[in-house]
């Protein structure tokens, strides 16, 4: 990994600059993308693209002058663009109605962090729109550059590759746009066009290929998946003295639990995964895991709508095979974009054996998921807490001052804002919000979403994470925040380096890691360490005085919910 610039250097070079600016406004067309190591994601392997049956797979490198585009690539792009214009009202409309008011410009974390004007959402869209005008509008054909149109040439393709992989499809711009123009939609379609001529990135296509074959992005095979989970169960036993043996691929259970595979595999996600298992065990939940559908995430979403559908199809297929009543989904961001806004449309209706989810513990019927038959674990746990079904000891998290990072998709493609906060307030006593315009529906991306969480572009990721990192630093200085909770597996992978860079000393944790730390389980040994096996600052008292312990527990409940609003 290349050396990162200092904070000051990075901040200085994040100031906007406007190369080739002219009063006629198309100066940007004259600046061409430059590819140097660190500025681009590695291309997908030829073999991966072939295995997935992607069109026009070929060898190429961004640093080469010639990208080996297939014969007749202009025609391929034109036809693919025409096809999308027929299929998507959104695309047609977003190509037509932008007035370039610029409200989106400084809403984008990539623009704020790089200062590159082509990272303004409006200009990112113009990269595509300029070709749309030329190819699909009479005025654009006649007026040429004056009309803001330009012909396709290889440098346009290169520019698309550069900038549509500097967008994390976070939709923050779409919130501020007076017409709701959604750059995520434009980026998704632009990436589809690039895939048509055989251009994809390794960090997206490899997980897609793995997921297709082994059931998860990481390519973990079934026996290994089971082994890893069993290792985590050993850790749980060390910490709590409780032995858990989660069911795999078993038929006849009520619930299928699906979460991103990243949580099975890497720190700090594994602690969240342990949290799930502990919670389910404590509840006596009738569930099963699946190795076939062992991935909640869906990098197909970052490839094409068809790939998204293909990867997602396993969820309902497995729910049908196992005969479960409903699906419980783990903490993940883009996974929930797919489940909330796409799954029912692309792969629904849900199999006949499934019913509207009902919490077996509280009896709450989740009517709002009556068609998809899938709910988010934060919704499930918030309901448990509301009905006082968990014995919680938030003081175990007293060494933490926690803030909450809303992930883009649960925030702006779902609206799940309060549920995780309700859970947080119940499981830790010190919860502080980051500044108002960096959270909830206005949240900033971690900077590495939509398949950009790859090592080779680390500096770019730190730049894109500038607004988030800066907000975190702010509450670290002001309130002594030392932990950032999130409900997204990509966040759990990408925020630790971001925090190390922008706010050293802040750890990143999943929501259910904190839940499990606070969860008092039946028959557990007094807890002296947290799920990371670090000594608790406020360990449980050594037993024999259960009454006293219970009293402490109820006391904690009273204190929970105290919260500092930071505006």
């Amino acid at each position: 990994m290349a050396k990162l610039p200092s904070l000051q250097e990075l901040a200085k070079s994040s100031l906007p600059r406007f190369p080739g600016a002219t009063l006629e406004g198309v100066g940007w067309m004259r600046t061409k993308p430059v590819f140097t190591p660190g500025s681009y994601c590695y291309p997908a392997k030829l073999e991966t693209m072939q295995k997935l049956g992607m069109p026009n797979p070929h060898e190429w490198s961004p640093e080469d002058e010639d990208w080996n585009l297939p014969q007749g690539w202009e025609k391929i792009i034109h036809n693919a663009f025409a096809d999308r214009l027929k299929k998507y009202r959104s695309l047609r409309l977003f190509m037509d109605i932008c007035v370039r008011c610029g409200a989106c410009a400084d809403k984008c974390h990539f623009f704020l962090g790089t200062g590159d004007p082509k990272n303004m959402p409006v200009l990112r869209a113009e990269l595509l729109r300029s070709v749309y005008r030329k190819d699909f509008t009479t005025a654009g054909r006649l007026l040429g550059k004056v009309g803001g149109s330009r012909a396709l040439d290889p440098s346009v393709i290169k520019e698309w590759f550069s900038y549509f992989y500097q967008c994390t499809e976070c939709r923050r711009c779409s919130l501020f746009c007076p017409y709701g123009i959604d750059t995520a939609e434009i980026t998704m379609i632009a990436r589809e066009l690039l895939h048509e001529v055989g251009l994809g990135i390794h960090w997206i296509m490899d997980p897609v290929s793995n997921c297709n074959r082994t059931g998860n992005h990481l390519g973990i095979q079934p026996q290994a998946f089971k082994e890893i989970v069993e290792f985590l169960c050993e850790d749980i036993e060390t910490i709590t003295g409780i032995n858990i043996t989660p069911p795999f691929n078993e038929k006849g259970h009520e619930i299928l639990f699906i979460t991103p595979s990243g949580d099975v595999f890497a720190e700090p996600g594994i602690y969240t995964f342990m949290g799930y298992l502990m919670l389910f065990h404590e509840l006596g939940l009738d569930y099963t895991l699946s190795t076939y559908a062992s991935e909640g995430g869906n990098f197909g979403l970052f490839t094409s709508s068809e790939m998204m559908k293909k990867i997602n199809a396993k969820m309902y297929a497995e729910a049908e095979r196992l005969g479960v009543k409903w699906i419980l989904g783990g903490e993940c961001g883009h996974m929930w974009r797919v489940i909330h806004q796409y799954m029912d449309t692309v792969n629904g209706p849900a199999p006949k054996n499934m019913v509207t989810p009902v919490s077996p513990i509280t009896g709450t019927k989740f009517d709002y998921a009556s068609s998809t038959k899938m709910i988010h674990i934060a919704e499930f746990t918030a309901d448990l807490i509301k009905h006082d079904k968990l014995n919680l000891k938030p003081s175990r998290n007293d060494h933490l001052t926690v803030t909450f990072h809303d992930s883009c998709n649960p925030a702006r493609a779902m609206g799940m804002l309060e549920e995780p906060r309700e859970v947080l307030r119940a499981v830790c006593n010190n919860f502080v919000e980051m500044p108002a315009n960096t959270i909830r529906e206005q949240t900033f991306c971690c900077g590495s979403g939509s398949g950009l969480n790859t090592e080779e572009i680390m500096e770019l990721r730190m730049r894109a994470g500038l607004p988030r990192g800066n907000a975190l630093r702010h509450v670290q200085l002001k309130h002594g925040v030392n932990a950032m909770a999130c409900v997204c597996a990509i966040d759990r992978a990408t925020l630790p380096p971001l925090a190390d860079y922008w706010a050293p000393g802040v750890t990143v944790t999943g929501l259910h890691e904190l839940v499990a730390n606070a969860l008092v389980m039946k028959g557990e040994i007094p807890r002296t360490m947290d799920l990371r096996q670090e000594d608790l600052e406020y360990p449980d008292e050594v037993p024999d005085d259960e009454a006293a312990e219970n009293a402490a527990g109820s006391d904690d409940r009273g204190k929970a919910g105290q919260e500092v609003q930071d505006v």
Partner: protein, 335 residues
């Protein structure tokens, strides 16, 4: 920008000279009628184009809390769950520019050694954008005095309200000044902000100059180069009733004004100004956030193609059996 300005100025010159050369019939009757025709046909054509394109996915941008658990208060307007909520969101979007109201500005500032990104609320664009649209529609409504006979009762009301700040004759309409101020703001903003200047196309300046042309010629007509209002009304009523007449005493300024309006009408359907209709089609705003309760249908939903469990088990059967995972088919059965 220069190109757009030249285009707009040449419109004024062509109309002025043309009318002076005795082409009044063209500029006073043929062009406006053609413009209205192009406008209507163009808008209908564009709207049909959008309406016919399918909406494959339900992709509302949620601007607030979803409707989920019964005790959590949902954001009825920002994450609308029902059609009523969606209509509310759309109306507020169209009438009050609600999304733009959120606007913030961000700036990087150093604080000692620490770089700090500062945000503040920035409502200028919202305020002047809203002012422009409101003043524009007010002025448009006032013009119905010229298109309807008898003049409807509400027009004098609007005029009274608009002319409250009366000093001199003819009565001064506030909307005229506000409209001019708003358009000038929108123009200066494009020129002053380097971000805006960088993204602005001739297609962004041109409508502003045409609007300026309409406003300036209109103000001139009313307050300076006073024209015979009665004969203008004869002309406009002739146009409205499709019974065109060309009365005497309609000055050159009027033809310039009318030509600018005609150009705007012709230009509008083929430009970004179609946002006025387009906003109502925007799927991130006009769709309900109830996608887990009601299935949205994609008319071109392709058939399912995925790796089935059977294929998966076929590849991994041996290792799965060894790991003690349940199987549909035992390894022995295979042989």
């Amino acid at each position: 920008m220069a190109f757009s300005l030249m285009m707009a100025l040449s419109i004024a010159v062509i109309a002025g000279v043309g009318a002076g050369l005795g082409l009044e019939y063209f500029f006073g009757i043929v062009l406006p009628l053609a413009a209205v025709l192009v406008f209507i046909a163009g808008v209908v054509w564009r709207v049909i184009g959008w309406a016919r394109a399918p909406v494959p996915f339900s992709i509302a941008t949620t601007g607030g809390q979803q409707k989920s658990l019964p005790w959590i208060k949902p954001a009825c307007l920002d994450a609308p769950y029902t059609s009523v909520g969606v209509i509310g969101r759309m109306v507020l979007e169209a009438v009050t520019f609600r999304s733009l109201f959120r606007n913030t500005a961000a700036e990087m500032r150093g604080e000692g050694d620490e770089p700090r990104l500062i945000y503040w609320s920035s409502k200028w664009l919202w305020a002047f954008g809203l002012l422009f649209h409101a003043a524009f529609f007010l002025v448009l409504f006032r013009h119905f005095r010229f298109f309807l006979e008898p003049v409807p009762f509400f027009i004098p009301w609007i005029e009274n309200l608009d002319g409250l700040m009366q000093f001199g004759v003819p009565r001064f309409f506030m909307s005229d000044a506000l409209l001019l101020a708003a358009v000038l703001f929108l123009l200066l903003r494009r020129l002053k902000d380097p971000k805006l200047r960088y993204i602005s196309l001739p297609a962004d300046y041109f409508p502003l100059f045409v609007l300026l042309g309409i406003i300036i010629s209109g103000i001139a007509l009313r307050y300076f180069a006073k024209s015979d209002v009665a004969s203008i009304k004869v002309l406009t009523m002739g146009l409205v009733t499709l019974n065109p007449v060309l009365p005497e005493g309609v000055g050159t300024t009027f033809f310039v004004h009318l030509t600018f309006v005609s150009v705007l009408l012709i230009y509008l359907p083929f430009s970004k100004l179609m946002h006025m209709a387009g906003i109502f089609f925007s799927p991130t705003r006009n769709m309900p956030c109830n996608t887990r309760q009601y299935r949205h249908i994609n008319p071109w939903n392709p058939p399912k193609k995925y790796r089935t469990y059977a294929e998966y088990e076929d590849e991994f059967r041996e290792v799965m059996a060894e790991a003690g995972l349940p199987l549909e088919k035992q390894p022995e059965e295979e042989k």
